[in-house]
Assembly symmetry: C2
Homo-oligomer: 812 residues x 2
């Protein structure tokens, strides 16, 4: 059945983007002169946007447009550009009038022409890219290199001055904005949210970030929902629900929404100016009230709904199809200009309609009266140092991590919860850096044993308090531990916080870190591009502690078992990715200290939160972590000779099991020489030609030998080790065990057994691989097999593991 | 600075979960007798929930409780259980009273005790698991095996009768519910949403699913937000915003919210019964109005906000700490019962407080008057066939895919857009299966060239229509193409649709499929467990077309380039994962046909949407896809002898480049024997011991030789091929090229060159690896290098690639 076309169902006037402005805030604050100039500035922006999309020459239209002056490949998105520059133009006004410290984040992905135009007009673009100078020649290059090979992208990429938000993947503009505002009391972060973007999950929950702003010490976020009306081919949901629903939705999110709707430029300018004045006034009033009393309350922050036509001021109709105010304006409105003379003429008329000759002087520079509309120096949106956060970044004041370690005499005799001392260390980092460091986690900092931090800084909470909250909830409007059950929002906040020059630490469940796979990908890509931009100052690394790991999720079951995030991490640029698997308290502290001091990386640390054997005293841990990989002499008996077997491990539980297997083998075969290697820095497995942390083949060979069997007990999926090490000389003898998707409700040991990372399995593996034990080992194998069966039976009978197996010690 | 504890800020009575019920709907529909019985049934549920968490013996407390009857390891989450069973109890009433066809999805992750209890009481649990019979012995096993090794998990796992939603990872309950309701006009899907879950991004946007229900042909979803108040250690956001905000939020989402708030059982039962009666009435009224007129309108669907104390009916206080109605009730309220006599006594009192002796007969079976409250047969929530969708599944009626192919005489001479004929094929699948098949995509079906489908079925749209929508927007309230800019929601809908026995197809951007990495992981795990459950009937595979692939995202830039989803897929069970890279139209059709017929898999198909060379006529495509891997004789010249080089490829663009390189090499070195292999079924690369599709080593060796150089040009990250093939005999000679995270704004060819998958790079690679060309090849290498430089220069000059290079043909 072919569907019949529907009838329009609505009184369009009530929600149309067209006509005279309709606004919540009444008023016409602009004088006729101001209005004329601002509109002219916006015309210049729109002219540049169209120029970027279409022109490779004749940038000021000083001569009649010719076909060869049109780019061969037309790229870029016109649809959202006019709205983006409309807002930029109006932000300039309030920044200048009120000397505001403001940055501007642009959510709508491909709308960069709407941002790059005013950024060029204010001069910041040419300062950073001198060849794109403020003259005809510079404008020509500016146009040509937009969305052009070797040029700049059609998003607000890292190459864009003033940008901390690219928006290639949609959904994170609001959370980035709030992250930027935390601990920046004088900053206002204006963020334009696309109505397509607003359909995404991450964006939908990030509106709740307003419950995490303390008006005393944090800056403000001013969200502007741009109801542009359409995605690529479809209307957007928020543009097609009733005005009442939309207003309810934002009131429900806790904002006071102010509407600015229409298409008539004159009245829209007045409405936007009045609305922005009002909203900035509201923000200041809230801040003043909070700051004068010291009382951190949760206000209704203002937000703006800007409903304007998609492709505003562009062609109304092309080839008989509506374009302005419709999805057909989304990308390039006329793609056939090179072939269709009618389209070509339409383009020239469109461009000339902005009257470039009135906007640019004879050199091609914006005329002074319009230039005068832009803020000066670092008040310019493109030059605000908060958006190049490394400029403002201060190194953390670091307590001596060595003071937080555990002390013991002999390796592998005592147990401790690995993350607990880290919590104490982080507590003091927090204490020493009270306005410059935050800790993030999805309702799990206590569960992850990091709760010492609450002694210095509570979980931030400014929504309603109940009396019982005083009993251990650790909530406070002064807190800087950020907890919300949204990994997306936390990651977005943290990225915003780092990109504006601060420091942070994020801990999360291993299995559910996949929720933010795509955000990790995008941040790693951002960092990788920034490396290549000399004007971008270094920012702090994103430190991600992955805990509640697979091997202790036996009781939570299969859904909670997934160590695959590392497989994703290794796909990204070696220049920006680091992976550490410290097996005990002291190595975790050493790694954490290193990560907190580092810059421009994503550091992934894998460490379980439960009790584990302690292997290295502090000196040993520092030495081992500095090397990243090494032989544990105390666990090896091959000194002075070639080993019969190399036993290697990475990760806390696999290390324990590998050690226990080593002991079992040595007890059965006293002459057997086993070398024990532990890997903390996973990229050591890769050749140094592939990763800056990689071991040279020579060093690798001297550790792993060139011909002895290697058993590698790994925390994650076993194939990852092969992927890193497939080029190594002794790869053919490398046998890796790891998680292979076998789990349900188990005990810890049973889970290990199912995946064959347990001591019995790998001891049997070793026997199979040591030539001299092929025959002699049969008896031992059978013995190990029976011990394994005993363990499983015990677990199924009692629901717990045998204590002496689970809590095993090194016997020598 | 240590934060001072905050003062409570609210008039608690206004939003407390305690006291006499306060409800939007007034009324006391329950007679005293009904009320008494329903409360008794709920007591039985709660008794069972506590029993599951604590007891391994003495299930009916027929004797005084002893310590050895307590489980050694206490697992499970008490906090949300009472609310879950409260709702179950009330759903039973409306199902029975009105003979409703209803399923029940439980969002709150670990609350399975609240579901398993009533499921056992209604008899379905014992029917599927006879050893857990409805008597004392069965109850003992039922208790013991809860969250016990070898037993069942603490979520509504696949082992749970009536469940299609596990909730281990939070956020997808609502989208699963809507997916189940699509095309099930008589079904009501009640879904309980946790207030913790409701903080997640995917959940936050999925409320908008109500804009995608057609009341004429779809069933209804009744969401119940369970304001339990707390997560593990924190309050939840929705429980701590004002009543007004909460009401606004749901009105903004387009619902009519009905509140049921309090803790007093008697009045809460009346309020819940009155509210459910009202909501079911509303749903029926809406459906009747729509169905009697045939007018599909968007109503305000009802939803319920149930605010009740966390750990409702559990201990109020333990060791001086508030428990009921606080986060301390989240998991096991008293973890120290084995060691603390006071806690032990508290537990026994708690259990006895439910008066099990009044609820169960002398055999341990629920007494008849309570049993009588449960629906019968397949009306029982645990037995509804929609929740074991394979029972209802009908095979698709399939058009002959061979009719949709492209015809040509010789391989590699003409170009076609690979996905376009697939769109025509899907159109006819849709036509032949109008109520049983849906297509999903995030606003990209047209962009992905699948638009032929709109000839039969439009994009579903029931929000406001504008007149211009008639011009090509392809919107209709009759459509079954589902587009929303939320991959999370789409994936959730599709899973819900499949799990209830229907069929679907999802196409999405390659780079942004990472948004749903974690959902893929969880669905694959669900399928893997279902394989082991004989009572779960087979469901259709989840078919995921990954398009707009990396090699044609040169213009969108770095953020849009990520082929890493496959690295994730290969981590999941080989029994449920399939990956296909058909290089042309006919192979894509063949693969799609196969996937649409398959069951219980996630099929991932990678195919770009733009113009590509066509290699295989339909017969050749079918043969090739059936084998999954094979030598392309027409592109090889090694017949009758050993090749000097094996050139292999997987993916459309890499295949083109590998073929072009083959020609370049043959032209330079006419005596060179090259074997050309193409891989469609990626798992062929793995040994057959690892994956059911894997090639035996013998077959692999006969294709790839045991000692000749292999160049493998791969679509994705190159290491994936090593990971699959590292055990193969000739692995040492395997040289793989693929995407290695080098991209920005490029032309297609420049992007290929940067990542060295272009014809020039791999021809040079080949020369380096063929011993006989080590010296003789130097000149050719230089020539290729210069050709490559020419291509880059051309791209930088004109912004496009040389047409004869981009649009290349096989010359022989």
């Amino acid at each position: 059945m072919v569907a019949t076309p529907p009838k329009p169902t609505t009184d369009i006037s009530s929600i149309s983007a067209f006509g005279t402005a309709r606004a919540t805030v009444q008023g016409s604050p602009l004088s006729g002169e101001e209005l004329r100039k601002m509109h002219a500035f916006w015309r210049a922006c729109n002219y540049l946007a169209v120029g970027m999309i279409y022109l490779r020459d004749n940038p000021l239209l000083r001569e009649p447009l010719k076909i060869e002056q049109i780019k061969k490949r037309l790229l870029g998105h016109w649809g959202s550009s006019p709205g983006i520059s409309f807002v930029y133009t109006h932000l300039n006004r309030v920044i200048k009038n009120q000397d505001l410290d403001m940055i501007y984040l642009v959510g709508p992905g491909h709308g960069a022409p709407g941002y790059l135009g005013p950024c060029y007009l204010e001069g910041t673009y040419s300062e950073i890219y001198p060849e794109k100078s403020e003259d005809e020649e510079g404008m020509k290059i500016f146009f040509k290199e937009f969305s052009f090979p070797g040029g700049v992208g059609s998003h607000c990429t890292p190459e864009t001055p003033g940008s901390i938000h690219e928006g290639g993947e949609l959904g994170y503009s609001i959370s980035h904005a709030y992250g930027a505002a935390f601990d920046n009391p004088d900053l206002i972060v204006t963020v334009l949210v696309g109505d397509g973007e607003s359909e995404t999950g991450p964006l939908a929950t990030s509106w709740h970030s307003n419950k995490f702003i303390n008006p005393v010490r944090d800056g403000a976020v001013l969200p502007i929902l741009h109801l542009n009306g359409y995605k690529i081919n479809n209307p957007t949901i928020p543009a097609r629900i009733s005005h009442e629903e939309l207003e309810n939705l934002f009131r429900g999110y806790g904002y006071t929404p102010y509407f600015v709707e229409g298409s008539d430029p004159e009245t829209m300018h007045q409405a936007m100016a009045a609305t922005l004045d009002h909203c900035i006034g509201e923000i200041k009033k809230i801040q003043q009230e909070a700051r004068s009393t010291g009382n951190a309350f949760r206000p209704r922050w203002p937000m703006i709904v800007l409903r304007s036509p998609k492709g505003w001021t562009g062609p109304e109709e092309v080839n008989g199809h509506k374009v302005e105010g419709f999805w057909r304006a989304h990308q390039v409105p006329m793609a056939d200009v090179a072939k269709n003379p009618e389209s070509f003429q339409l383009l020239e008329n469109w461009l000339r309609g902005y009257k470039p000759e009135e906007l640019f002087d004879h050199n091609g520079k914006l005329i002074p009266e319009l230039k005068d509309l832009t803020p000066k120096g670092t008040r310019r949106i493109g030059a605000n140092p908060h958006a190049n956060g490394g400029l403002l970044r201060k190194d953390l004041r670091m307590p001596d991590f060595r003071q937080y370690g555990v002390k013991f005499d002999k390796p592998a005799q005592i147990e401790a919860e690995n993350t607990k001392p880290l919590g104490v260390f982080l507590r003091d980092v927090m204490k020493w850096n009270p306005n410059n460091f935050r800790v993030f986690g999805p309702d799990e900092n206590t569960s992850n044993k990091l709760q010492a931090i609450y002694e210095v800084s509570k979980k931030f909470w400014i929504a309603e308090f109940f009396p019982e909250d005083l009993d251990g909830s650790e909530l406070s409007p002064d807190g800087r531990v950020m907890e919300m059950l949204s990994e997306h929002t936390l990651e977005g906040w943290l990225e915003g916080y780092l990109l504006t020059g601060r420091h942070g630490f994020f801990s999360t469940y291993e299995a559910f870190v996949h929720v933010i796979d795509s955000m990790f990908n995008q941040h790693a890509k951002w960092l990788d591009i920034c490396r290549q931009l000399s004007w971008r100052a270094d920012i702090s690394s994103l430190n991600l502690l992955i805990t509640s790991t697979v091997w202790r999720q036996d009781h939570n079951g299969f859904t909670h078992q997934d160590p695959g995030f590392l497989d994703l991490v290794v796909n990204k640029s070696a220049e920006v990715t680091r992976i550490y698997l410290p097996p005990d308290v002291n190595s975790l502290l050493s790694v954490a200290d290193h990560c907190l001091r580092s810059k421009n990386y994503v550091n992934v640390i894998v460490s379980d939160k439960q009790s584990h054997l302690q292997y290295m005293d502090m000196d040993a841990a520092i030495t081992h972590c500095t090397k990243g990989i090494g032989i544990w002499d105390w666990a090896s008996n091959d000194r002075g000779c070639e080993p019969d077997l190399v036993m290697a491990s990475a990760g806390d539980i696999p290390t324990l099991e590998a050690l226990a297997a080593t002991v079992m083998l040595r007890e059965e075969f006293p002459d057997l020489k086993i070398r024990f290697i532990n890997v903390v820095d996973l990229f050591k497995m890769q050749p140094d030609t592939e990763h800056p942390h990689g071991l040279s083949d020579r060093d690798f060979d001297s550790l792993f030998t060139i011909d002895k069997p290697i058993i590698f007990n790994f925390h994650g999926y076993p194939w990852l080790i092969h992927r890193l090490a497939y080029r190594r000389t002794n790869h053919k003898n490398l046998h890796v065990r790891g998680y292979k998707e076998k789990g349900n409700i188990n005990t810890p040991l049973e889970l290990a057994i199912q995946n064959q990372i347990d001591r019995y399995s790998i001891a049997m593996d070793a026997i199979d691989r040591i030539p001299s034990l092929k025959v002699a080992g049969a008896h031992a194998k059978e013995k190990f097999k029976n011990m394994q069966i005993d363990c499983r039976n015990y677990a199924h009978e009692y629901g717990v593991d045998k204590a002496d197996v689970l809590h095993w010690k090194w016997p020598y």
